[in-house]
Amino acid sequence: MHSADGLDSEEIGKLVRAARAGKSREFGQLVEAFQRPIYALAYRMLRNHADADDVAQETFIRAWTAIERYDPSYSFLGWLRTIATRLALNMIEKRRRRRTEGGETFDLASEQHATTAPGPDTAVEGSEMHRALEAALARLPDDYRLPLLLRTNDELSYAEIAKTLEIPVGTVMSRLHRARTLLRAELESHGLGASPRRGHA
């Protein structure tokens, strides 16, 4: 089995060329190589397995469909991330619409609790801090949350985030700043300041 780290850029390039020529087996290898980071990205944005699975699957379907449009001078993973990010955003939007159409108030925090269905190998500790942080994250506007997730969890550079989200680097920086400020304020309002003395490991 391949993993994202298991393929160098040359191998990726070869597989992409094969996939472009319509070879699904090679495309399957690409899927295997990138399924984990893409699923993780989707999960972080959507915070439940079913939606993350949907988006991750759909990302690869789209990638196959649009493979001609992939520019090999950019990172393939970056391209997949862009697709996944948009799909996930779209799903968030749909959820929001459903919710508001249903007359319910939109409360991501409660959604958060309802949807954190841990998978079999879950390593999430259910600490108060984590729950509060996840809830706070969920309440962050997408414009702030996405750069933060891409930076912290996908470890993209500011330039890469700028490219993925199609915003200037300066904006990435200011949004990250804003996101962190908001998060801290949120946590502090719950008496959970993200200080070094918070009681959780």
Partner: protein, 420 residues
């Protein structure tokens, strides 16, 4: 809190190692002297650490083992066919992508599209800024002998031909990518005259000779052009665009088409030369999912009603990037369209501009375009709810990023107007 000396706004970039050496040194100097900022830094670092620990639950080995087989299965016939040799025709992929599985038999769709392409070709002569390539039929008939839909093309042809007696704008065979900077940007890239007549005749003959255009094949060949063209178009979008005075237009066009010559038009022409389907694909597959969903709804609706109005489909497919053409030249001929189609047709410019702008909505270099679109959306009453939402987002951004108070007030006013 920030008194101009504190570095709290730089601490994030500092933690992310995104500061250059000078800035980093500045921050460090300040940190040594300032307890407040040191506390901020610690808080930030611990926040980062906690965020990183928000692990994604691993759905388990079974899930991962099945992940790629599931994807491949959904690629379905696409994959199977591809392994038989060659990539799946782009058009077919598109169809599969848009239409729920089993929703619509492919041959019917293909036939319909062959018809669309033909009608497009013929009807194109009425559009002054259109360019499209249609290649003569070769093996399509052989591949799909005597399927009912393919008959649509020939029957449709004379009607359309009769209708478009206007001075022809020739489809131009132009396989190369458009040069981004044309020395004569305003000259239509459409050749008229003898060549036109010849091309048109040829097409007429082709159709009359019962060979519908091989839609699949054509698209496939064009595929590699799609990206470069789009990029070119987008680059053009970024350029500051000179104000162009509205050209005299038929009243109908004026009514539907507030754009007049929009900044984007010229660049969009570049896309149009790749063929309407490509311009559409480019927009749809770029991740403008809203657009794609609308496409799916539209296409499925038409197919379900078994009222595949080829001309409308043609217009619709062209619409995302063919801003002006549809509003003016085409609307007059639309008689039997569904209400959904009408709704879409009512705001072609906005949908198109929106599809292009939305992913770039926060980029300052697109500000003039965003402003333009926002203004139009505010003025226009017949926008879809989706576009209205977008207008709200655009305006909010314009307010938030206004360079001065007066501008901010102006956009705030527009925003208020939209709310009413």
């Amino acid at each position: 809190m920030p008194d101009g000396r504190h570095v709290d706004d730089l601490l994030g970039a500092y933690v992310d190692a995104e500061l250059d050496a000078a800035a980093r040194a500045g921050v460090e100097t300040h940190l040594r002297a300032c307890a407040t900022c040191r506390r901020d830094l610690e808080a930030l670092q611990s926040l980062q650490a906690t965020l990183r620990h928000l692990e994604v639950p691993d759905p388990g080995q079974g899930y991962w083992a099945q992940f790629s087989p599931r994807v491949l299965e959904r690629l379905g016939d696409a994959a199977t066919q591809a392994s038989d040799g060659g990539p799946m025709p782009l058009l077919e992929r598109l169809a599969r992508w848009f239409l729920p599985q089993g929703r619509l038999a492919w041959p019917r769709f293909a036939g319909a599209f062959a018809g669309v392409m033909l009608v497009t070709y013929i009807g194109m002569r009425g559009f002054r800024s259109d360019e499209i390539r249609i290649e003569p039929a070769k093996d399509r008939a052989a591949r799909e002998p005597a399927s009912a839909p393919t008959a649509l093309a020939p029957t449709e042809e004379p009607k359309s031909a009769a209708r478009s007696a206007a001075p022809p704008a020739a489809p131009q065979l132009e396989p190369k990518r458009t040069a981004p900077a044309s020395p004569e940007p305003d000259r239509p890239r459409i050749r008229q005259g003898a060549k036109v007549a010849k091309e048109t005749d040829k097409a007429g003959e082709g159709a009359a000779a019962t060979s519908p255009p091989p839609a699949q094949q054509t698209f496939e060949k064009q595929a590699p052009d799609v990206r470069p063209r789009s990029e070119t178009a987008l680059q053009d979008l970024k350029k500051p665009v000179p104000q162009v005075a509205p050209s005299p237009a038929p009243s109908e066009e004026a009514a539907l088409n507030l754009t007049a010559p929009v900044q984007t038009e010229r660049s969009l022409q570049a896309d149009a030369s790749a063929g309407p389907i490509h311009t559409f694909i480019a927009a749809a597959l770029a991740g403008e999912v809203t657009t794609a969903q609308e496409a799916r709804t539209e296409l499925a609706m038409l197919a379900d009603a078994d009222a595949l109005d080829l001309e409308h489909m043609d217009a619709w497919l062209r619409q995302p990037l063919q801003l002006r053409a549809y509003g003016g030249a085409a609307t007059g001929r639309k008689k039997s369209q569904s209400s959904a189609m009408e709704a879409t047709a009512a705001a072609p410019d906005y949908a198109a501009l929106d599809a292009l702008l939305w992913p770039r909505r926060h980029a300052q270099e697109f500000r003039p375009q965003v402003e333009e679109l926002a203004r139009r959306l505010v003025r226009q009453t017949q926008v879809t709810p989706a576009l209205r939402e977008r207008a709200d987002a655009y305006l909010t951004w314009l307010v938030e990023t206004a360079p001065d108070a007066a501008t901010r007030a102006e956009w705030q006013m527009q925003l208020d107007a939209l709310a009413r």
